[in-house]
C-alpha cells in the first residue's frame, strides 16, 4: 500500500505545474550538466559536436519544460547526442539509492551478488559475525534492518543506465551501518526457511589503506593453491606496496604451477598503474601494452614491463559485473594480447572514472571523463570485457559449496597441461 501511494505521489509531483523556484533549479541543473561536459569531457568537441550549438538548441527547451520529468528528459536528450555511455540523469529517488547511498563503517561480513533479482550470499568474511552465526553461501538476503531488498533491487534494475556494480553497491550499503552496532538481517536459507539474525557490524575485511585524496579503503589479498594451480583474489587495486608485493610473491612462487588464476570478481579497480605492474609478472614479450587512455590533453599508454622470470603458463582471469576500471583494463588487455583466458560474466563496462554528482534539482548526474581503448582497439568504457567462457554463479551451486567460475577455469588449465 505504501509503495503504491509513493508511486502515485511521485507521478503527481512529476507532472505538477512547476513553481518558479523548481523551474530555476531545473535550469541550473541543465547548466551544470552542459558545463561539466564542456569542461571535463576528454574531447574538446564532445562526441564530435559543436557543444555551444547544443547549448543554444537545448536551453530554450529546458526553459519551456513544464515538469521535472520533462526537464530530465531534455537533459537526457542532450546527453544522448553524445552517443556515449556513462552519461546519465537519474531521478532523485534513484540517486539516493546509488550515488547518495552512504555506507556505514561496519559490515556483517557478507558478500552478495544479485542473481535473478535476489541478493544471494556469495562469500563470508573469515572471522565475521556472519561466519559465527552460520550464514552460508547461497542464502538469500531478503531484508536488512528496515529495508526490504526486493523492491529496491526491482527499482534499480528498472533503470537501464545503471550497471550491475551500482546495484551491488546499493545492496552493500543496505547491509552496512555504524561499526559496533547490530543489524537485523533476514535470510532465506537453503531449505527455503526464513531466518532473521542479529549480526554485529564489524570493521571491513582487510587492512585500512589511504591513497592521496581517496577515503580510507580496507584492502585484502588472498592467495592459495588449488591442486597445482595458483589462485589469488584481492578486493581493490590499492595498498600498492603490500598488494604488489603479495601478488609478486604468489606468482613467482608458482613458477612450476600448472596454471594461475586471478580472481577479479567484485574488484571495482583502484590505481590504474598497478595493472601494468602486475602484467609484468605474467608477460615475457617486451614492448606490449594493455591499452591506451585518452584524456583531453594527453594519452597514456598502459605499457607492460616484463620481469625477469615472468610466469608463462596458462592464465585464467575471473570477472563479473562488479569487475570495473583497473580490473577491466587488466583483464581486457591480457585478453587482447592472447595472454589470458577470461571466465565469468561481462564486466561493469566502467573502465574509466565516472563520477556521479547531485544536481541542484535533486537528480543524479553521471559522467565519464576519459576514454580507454584496449590493445585490441575496443573501447572498454560502455562495452566492458566479454569473457571467453561465460559462466554464471547460481544459487544452487553456492548452496552446494561450489563456485562454477573457478571450476571452469581449473578445468581449462588442467586441459592445457594434459597431452592431447
Amino acid at each position: 500500500m505504501r509503495t503504491f501511494a509513493g508511486l502515485l505521489l511521485a507521478a503527481a509531483a512529476g507532472y505538477a505545474q512547476l513553481t518558479a523556484e523548481q523551474r530555476q533549479l531545473n535550469i541550473e541543473s541543465f547548466e551544470k550538466v552542459w558545463t561539466t561536459i564542456r569542461d571535463k569531457h576528454w574531447e574538446r568537441n564532445p562526441g564530435g559536436l559543436d557543444w555551444q550549438a547544443i547549448h543554444a538548441e537545448y536551453r530554450p527547451k529546458i526553459e519551456q519544460a513544464a515538469s521535472t520529468e520533462q526537464a530530465r528528459q531534455v537533459m537526457r536528450d542532450m546527453l544522448a547526442r553524445l552517443h556515449q555511455t556513462h552519461f546519465a540523469i537519474f531521478p532523485g529517488n534513484v540517486y539516493e539509492d546509488v550515488g547518495g547511498a552512504v555506507m556505514g563503517g561496519g559490515t556483517p561480513g557478507l558478500e552478495t551478488r544479485v542473481l535473478e533479482g535476489q541478493a544471494v550470499v556469495t562469500s563470508i568474511d573469515p572471522g565475521s559475525s556472519a561466519e559465527r552465526a552460520g550464514v552460508h553461501p547461497g542464502w538469500v538476503v531478503t531484508r536488512a534492518g528496515d529495508k526490504d531488498l526486493a523492491p529496491m533491487i526491482r527499482k534499480l534494475q528498472a533503470v537501464p543506465e545503471l550497471h550491475e556494480l551500482t546495484l551491488e553497491r546499493a545492496v552493500e550499503a543496505a547491509l552496512s551501518g555504524p561499526e559496533g552496532g547490530d543489524l537485523a538481517v533476514t535470510f532465506l536459507d537453503g531449505d527455503g526457511r526464513q531466518r532473521t539474525m542479529n549480526l554485529r557490524l564489524g570493521p571491513p575485511r582487510g587492512a585500512p589503506s589511504r591513497f592521496g585524496n581517496l577515503p580510507v579503503e580496507y584492502v585484502w589479498f588472498e592467495s592459495k593453491k588449488i591442486g597445482n594451480i595458483g589462485y589469488v583474489r584481492f578486493n581493490l587495486f590499492l595498498d600498492l606496496a603490500r598488494v604488489m608485493g603479495e601478488f609478486g610473491k604468489a606468482v613467482t612462487g608458482c613458477r612450476g604451477c600448472d596454471g594461475f588464476i586471478i580472481d577479479l570478481r567484485g574488484n571495482p579497480g583502484g590505481i590504474g598503474g598497478m595493472a601494468m605492474g602486475m602484467a609484468g609478472f605474467l608477460v615475457e614479450k617486451p614492448d606490449e601494452k594493455l591499452g591506451t587512455m585518452y584524456m583531453r590533453d594527453n594519452s597514456l599508454k598502459f605499457v607492460i614491463n616484463p620481469r625477469a622470470g615472468a610466469f608463462d603458463g596458462p592464465l585464467a582471469v575471473l570477472v563479473d559485473g562488479c569487475s570495473a576500471s583497473t580490473s577491466e583494463i587488466f583483464a581486457g588487455g591480457l585478453q587482447d594480447l592472447g595472454r589470458a583466458r577470461i571466465f565469468g560474466t561481462k564486466t561493469a563496462a566502467a573502465a574509466l572514472p565516472s563520477a556521479i554528482e547531485k544536481l541542484p534539482n535533486g537528480d543524479g548526474f553521471q559522467y565519464a571523463i576519459a576514454n580507454y581503448i584496449s590493445e585490441g582497439g575496443k573501447a572498454l568504457e560502455g562495452n566492458g570485457v566479454t569473457p571467453d567462457v561465460t559462466v554464471k554463479l547460481t544459487r544452487a551451486a553456492l548452496l552446494a559449496g561450489r563456485d562454477p567460475v573457478i571450476d571452469a577455469a581449473v578445468e581449462w588449465i588442467r586441459k592445457q597441461r594434459t597431452p592431447q
Binding site: 589503506s209 591513497f211 601494468m276 605499457v303 614491463n305 620481469r307 625477469a308
Partner: protein
C-alpha cells in the same frame, strides 16, 4: 617525470654578461653567465659528489613523500622517493645505463630518447658540460615570466626533444624550463619553474621546483645538499630486480 627535479636545466659559463638591449646575446654567453652567477667554474669544479635531500608533494592528489638523490661524476646517479600510499620509487644511472624501479609499473631499463634524457640529467656538474650534452644551443628570444624579462634558450640534444630554458635577464638565473619527457607510456610536455636559490658550498642551487606534467602539479623542495660526502660505490648499483633484467638481456 620526477627525475626532472634534478635540475637538468643548468648549463654553462662566460664572464661577459652585459648585453645591448636590442641584440640577443649568444646562447653560449647566457649559459656561461649562469655559471658565473651561481658560483663560478672553480666552485663547480671543487664538487666531486652531492647528496640532496628534500620532499615532494602532488598537491591536487594530496600525495606527499621524501626524496634523496646521490650524484657523482661522470653520470652516476641514484634517486629514491618514498611516496605515501605508493612506496619506494627508485631510479638511477651509471656507466651509460639508466633504469627505474617503480612499485606500480615494475623494474625497467630505459632506452632511446628516455635513456638519453636521463643520462643528460645525471651528468655531474651539468652546467660545465653542456657542450657534451647538446649539439646546438640557440637564443630564441625574450619572454616575460612573473614580470621579469628572460632570455629563452633552446638546447637541442643529439637524441630526444629540444629543451627550452629561461634565464632571467637581470639575475642570470634559470627560472623555467620546458621540454617533452619521453617514456614508453608516451610523450608528455613538462614545464618546471625553479626558484629559491640557496648557496650550497659555493654554488647556488634552486630549492623549489614546481613541475607541471600531464595535468598534475608536483612540488619538489630541497632541504639539504651535502657536497663531497663519501658515497660508497655500491650506492649506484641497481636493485636486484633491475640487475635480473640486465642479466636477461
Amino acid at each position: 617525470m620526477t627525475r626532472r627535479f634534478a635540475i637538468f636545466l643548468v648549463f654553462s659559463a662566460c664572464p661577459g654578461w652585459t648585453f645591448a638591449d636590442d641584440a640577443l646575446p649568444k646562447a653560449e654567453t647566457i649559459l656561461d653567465r649562469f655559471i658565473e652567477v651561481t658560483g663560478g667554474r672553480a666552485a663547480y669544479e671543487k664538487r666531486q659528489s652531492e647528496v640532496m635531500t628534500g620532499h615532494v608533494e602532488m598537491t591536487a592528489q594530496n600525495l606527499k613523500g621524501t626524496l634523496t638523490r646521490y650524484s657523482a661524476p661522470p653520470d652516476k646517479s641514484y634517486t629514491v622517493m618514498e611516496l605515501d600510499g605508493v612506496g619506494k620509487i627508485e631510479e638511477g644511472s651509471a656507466g651509460g645505463v639508466a633504469w627505474e624501479n617503480n612499485p606500480m609499473t615494475g623494474p625497467r631499463i630505459k632506452s632511446g630518447a628516455e635513456k638519453a634524457q636521463s643520462l643528460r640529467e645525471a651528468t655531474f656538474n651539468g652546467p660545465l658540460n653542456w657542450q657534451k650534452m647538446y649539439v646546438k644551443a640557440e637564443t630564441a628570444g625574450v619572454e616575460t615570466i612573473d614580470g621579469e624579462e628572460c632570455y629563452k634558450v633552446v638546447l637541442t640534444p643529439a637524441e630526444g626533444k629540444p629543451e627550452t630554458t629561461y634565464y632571467q635577464k637581470k639575475s642570470g638565473l634559470v627560472v623555467r624550463t620546458t621540454t617533452v619527457a619521453s617514456s614508453p607510456m608516451g610523450e608528455f610536455p613538462v614545464e618546471q619553474d625553479v626558484s629559491d636559490y640557496k648557496n650550497f658550498d659555493g654554488v647556488l642551487l634552486p630549492t623549489k621546483m614546481v613541475q607541471k606534467v600531464a595535468g598534475q602539479e608536483i612540488v619538489f623542495t630541497i632541504d639539504s645538499v651535502k657536497v663531497n660526502e663519501q658515497i660508497t660505490a655500491d650506492r649506484f648499483n641497481p636493485p636486484a630486480e633491475v640487475k635480473a633484467l640486465m642479466e636477461k638481456k
